[in-house]
Every structure is written in structure tokens, then in C-alpha cells.
């Protein structure tokens, strides 16, 4: 018997050994991190709710930026701040959408470009980013001021990771994200609460170095929409869902006839040197626009115009 034969046989051992090796260590770490971060999140949220109105108003009229990378505009003291917590919008917050000036790019489908690069630990150090690290690195907790009704973060704090080159100490990959969904499974992943099996909600991802994971195939010519001076690329894709009828072909001729379609919208933009991507499933375009507008105009509490005509005719 040689090493290859042994390796082949080892490759076929019962799944229980594979699962044990897969979950070992990570399980212990994530369990601690999950509860630890949940506790931190609870504390921070409580403190934020108590202190937010004062903090936001600050001294004088302007929200003090916590650093050069803080996204979002300044806010006057006469704005109506949300009183029930930072996650929901003020009722007075209006958004004006010039629908004629909204440009949505149609994508051919989801991108599976394998952008998840494996970083060899011999050459790269990985640092997990918890809530506090995300706050320190991006200047905010990736919770948009506007979150559509029925969506929550499920108690999950923002998270991400940094990769540094060992040789130079330089950060070469930085991504953080946070999700808001109708429901969550026991493993913390988004879960559908209806028969479609497709969760409803959105994820926001942020990176100062560029987002490597692109959710949808980009069209050749991208059109942008003006969100109060910030160019946003809105991309849409209609995805099929089952059950599929094997007796008929879908219009594209590639699959059996789907029971229906659902929407994926992706909004990409750069704000104060941070690249953002909001990926929404089964949400209306209007909701996606409001989410993005609330990120660009933190907090969502005053009139905000989307789809401005740049020469002032809007």
C-alpha cells in the first residue's frame, strides 16, 4: 500500500470524522465570539439608545465626524432624530425620488467569479473584525438609518476581516458586512419565512480597498443614478425560483419553466473613500433606494432627493 492508496481510502471515511474536523476549533471560537459579541452589542446598543440624541446633536448644529472615513453628511440640530433607537427612520424623513432619472442596469445573472481568494497563512495574517473594530475601521456600525419594516439584524453584530501581508504589514483585503432579514436560522444565517425558500432582506458590505465580491454580473455599460451628488450604480437581476415544470422550457431555453421570479438589486457606490455594496433580495426598488439614501444621508431624517437632474431642472 502506498500513500496515495491510503489517502484515497482516508478520503472515503464516514462523514462524522470530516464534520468533526471541520467544526473543531471554529465551533469553540465562534461560540465565544457569538455570545461575546452579542453581549457587547447589547451593551453598546443600550448605551447608544440612552446617549444617541445628545451625541447626534453634539455642540452647535453639526454632527461631529469621528474620523476622516466617517460616511454620511452633517446633520443640523433642527432635524428630527429617531427616538426609538438608531435602526428605524424618523416618520418625518421624506425621500423624493425622480423616477425618470433612476437608471437601473440589467444584469444577466449572479456572478460566480470565485472572488473569495484563499490567503495562505504563511504569507498573510487574518484579523477578525468584531463590532468595535468595524466601528473603528469604518466609522459606523453598518446599520443603515432606514431599514424596511419586518427586517432585523437578528441580534448579529457587524463583522468582517482584514488580511495583512506578513512581510510588509500592509492591509491587502478588508471587508465587513451586516445583514438584515425577515428571519434567521439557528446558525445565524438568513432564513425564509415562506414557501419560496429565498430569504427576504439585504446585506451591506464595505471595503476601503475595494469590494472583491461582486454579487451580479456587471453589464458592459453601467449607468449611474445621482443620490444627492453621489453616483450609485443600481443593478437588477430577475432570478428564477421553483418548483420548476419539466414539461415546459423557460423563455431563455436554459432551464425548465420556473414557478416565478424574484428580484435581486445591487447598489454600489463610494462614499468618503469606502466602497459599499448593498445587495437586496425580494425587496422593491423603492426600498433599496431608501436604504441607500439613508446610508448616504445619515441619519435618515430629512428630505433627500434621488435622481437629481444635474443641471438643476429637477
Amino acid at each position: 500500500m502506498n500513500a496515495t492508496e491510503f489517502s484515497d481510502a482516508l478520503g472515503k471515511v464516514n462523514n462524522q470524522y470530516i464534520m468533526e474536523a471541520l467544526n473543531y476549533g471554529r465551533k469553540r471560537k465562534s461560540g465565544w465570539m457569538k455570545w461575546g459579541m452579542a453581549a457587547c452589542f447589547g451593551l453598546v446598543l443600550t448605551m447608544t439608545m440612552i446617549m444617541l440624541p445628545g451625541i447626534l446633536r453634539g455642540q452647535g448644529n453639526i454632527l461631529p465626524p469621528s474620523g476622516p472615513d466617517v460616511p454620511g453628511p452633517v446633520v443640523g440640530s433642527d432635524d428630527n432624530q429617531p427616538s426609538a433607537g438608531p435602526l428605524q427612520p424618523s416618520d418625518e424623513g421624506d425621500i423624493i425620488i425622480h423616477w425618470d432619472n433612476i437608471a437601473v442596469n440589467e444584469s444577466e445573472g449572479p456572478s460566480l467569479d470565485g472572488a473569495r481568494l484563499y490567503r495562505d497563512p504563511e504569507f498573510y495574517d487574518m484579523e477578525n473584525l468584531g463590532e468595535e473594530e468595524v466601528l473603528a475601521y469604518y466609522g459606523w456600525d453598518l446599520a443603515p438609518a432606514y431599514i424596511p419594516e419586518g427586517l432585523t439584524d437578528g441580534g448579529n453584530a457587524p463583522g468582517g476581516c482584514l488580511y495583512r501581508e506578513k512581510a510588509t504589514g500592509k492591509v491587502i483585503e478588508d471587508q465587513a458586512g451586516r445583514g438584515f432579514w425577515t428571519d434567521f436560522g439557528e446558525d445565524g444565517c438568513p432564513k425564509s419565512n415562506d414557501d419560496l425558500y429565498i430569504p427576504t432582506g439585504f446585506t451591506i458590505r464595505a471595503s476601503k480597498l475595494g469590494i472583491f465580491h461582486c454579487a451580479l454580473l456587471q453589464p458592459d455599460e453601467e449607468r449611474t443614478t445621482d443620490f444627492g451628488g453621489v453616483s450609485v450604480i443600481l443593478t437588477h437581476c430577475s432570478m428564477k425560483h421553483g418548483p420548476f415544470d419539466p414539461s415546459q422550457k423557460a423563455p431563455d431555453g436554459l432551464s425548465n419553466m420556473p414557478a416565478g421570479y424574484y428580484d435581486i438589486y445591487v447598489a454600489s457606490f463610494t462614499l468618503d473613500g469606502v466602497e459599499y455594496e448593498v445587495e437586496a433580495q425580494r425587496l422593491e426598488l423603492e426600498e433599496v433606494i431608501k436604504i441607500v439614501a439613508s446610508i448616504i444621508n445619515i441619519p435618515y431624517s430629512r428630505n433627500f432627493t434621488v435622481g437629481n437632474i444635474m443641471d438643476g431642472q429637477g
Binding site: 496515495t4 481510502a9 470530516i18 468533526e20 474536523a21 473543531y24 460566480l112 470565485g114 439557528e186 428564477k240
Partner: protein
């Protein structure tokens, strides 16, 4: 998304299944394939082929647990490519790990008659059962997932030196175990 929901997407023939699979297990699969192939592009292709394999297998298969099923496909495809590439390329965790095993299994004598693979799998499983959970994970991470000592150390909280020493002992135990059962001499 939970594994059952991903499998339902496969049954519904929805492309979303592949996205969810990649979202949840993409990094594990890429890491495993890269350990074997030591080449990013080859690893990328193997993982994509594994997704296609999963797409073709589900339905009718309803794998449980899903990650073990997926990792097995990735490992098989990556090892096939590794052996195909071996004549022209060397290096990476897989080469070193196989050389370690070769040293453990080497014998100047030839055992009459090759052992049936199924019998060998049973013997390996029995050997795994004799190990402590931590040593079992060390063996699996090194020779199933082809992790480096550094990665195993990071996962288990042991030092690299300790991982190396323990694996040497485990290989000696394995050799003794296989010799007692006359699989090697």
C-alpha cells in the same frame, strides 16, 4: 441560509443554490483545494467543478451533512488534478503530507494481495476511533484537509512544534496498527 434550505434550492433547480453554497462554504472549499493544488487558478476551477458536481448530484441525492459531501467532491477533484499535474509541478501541502505518509507506510517487503479498499476504509475508521478527539482532528486536518502545521496550530491552539510532534507519534501509531493487521510489513 440553513443547509436544508440550500438543498431545497437545488431541488427547485434554482441558480440561487450555487450562490448560497458559495456564500456559506466557498472559503472552506477554496482553502481545501488550494492546499492540494498550490495553485489558485486550478483550485478555482476545481471548486467550480465541484459546484457543478453538486448541481448534477442533487437531486436525487439529499446529502446530509452537506459540507462533508461538498468537501469530498472538492477533495476528489483536486487530488485528481494534483496527480495529473504532478509530473510537471511540485510543492504545496499535499506533496509534503503524502511524503510523510509514504515514510510511515514504506516497507521493504511486499504484502501478498492488495487489501480491498472498503476493508482499508473500515480499518482507518477503527484507527480513528482509537485516537483522542484532538489527535483525530490533527490527523484529519493534516491528511484529509491537507492543512499546514501552522493552520492546524491556529485551529487547535497548539504550537506548531507540538502539532509536528503529535503527528509524528500518530503516524507511528498508525504504522504499528497497520502492521499488526498485516496491511503493511
Amino acid at each position: 441560509m440553513e443547509d436544508n434550505a440550500i438543498i431545497e434550492l437545488f431541488f427547485a433547480r434554482s441558480e440561487q443554490a450555487i450562490r448560497e453554497l458559495d456564500d456559506k462554504y466557498g472559503r472552506v472549499c477554496h482553502s481545501l483545494s488550494y492546499h492540494i493544488l498550490n495553485n489558485r487558478q486550478d483550485a478555482e476551477e476545481c471548486v467550480n467543478d465541484a459546484y457543478l458536481g453538486a448541481w448534477n448530484a442533487i437531486p436525487p441525492a439529499r446529502p446530509n451533512p452537506l459540507p462533508a459531501f461538498l468537501c469530498k467532491i472538492v477533495r476528489n477533484l483536486s487530488l485528481m488534478r494534483y496527480h495529473a499535474n504532478k509530473a510537471v509541478k511540485r510543492g504545496g501541502n499535499c506533496t509534503v503530507a503524502l511524503e510523510e505518509l509514504e515514510g510511515c507506510l514504506a516497507s521493504p517487503h511486499t504484502v501478498e494481495g492488495a487489501i480491498e479498499e472498503q476493508e482499508l476504509i473500515g480499518l482507518i475508521e477503527h484507527f480513528l476511533d482509537t485516537l483522542s478527539p484532538e489527535n483525530r482532528v490533527l490527523l484529519m486536518r493534516r491528511y484529509w484537509f491537507l492543512d499546514s502545521y501552522r493552520e492546524i496550530a491556529a485551529r487547535t491552539g497548539l504550537s506548531e512544534k507540538n502539532v509536528s510532534v503529535r503527528l509524528t507519534r500518530i503516524r507511528k501509531q498508525l504504522r504499528r496498527y497497520l502492521m499488526e493487521r498485516e496491511v503493511i510489513q
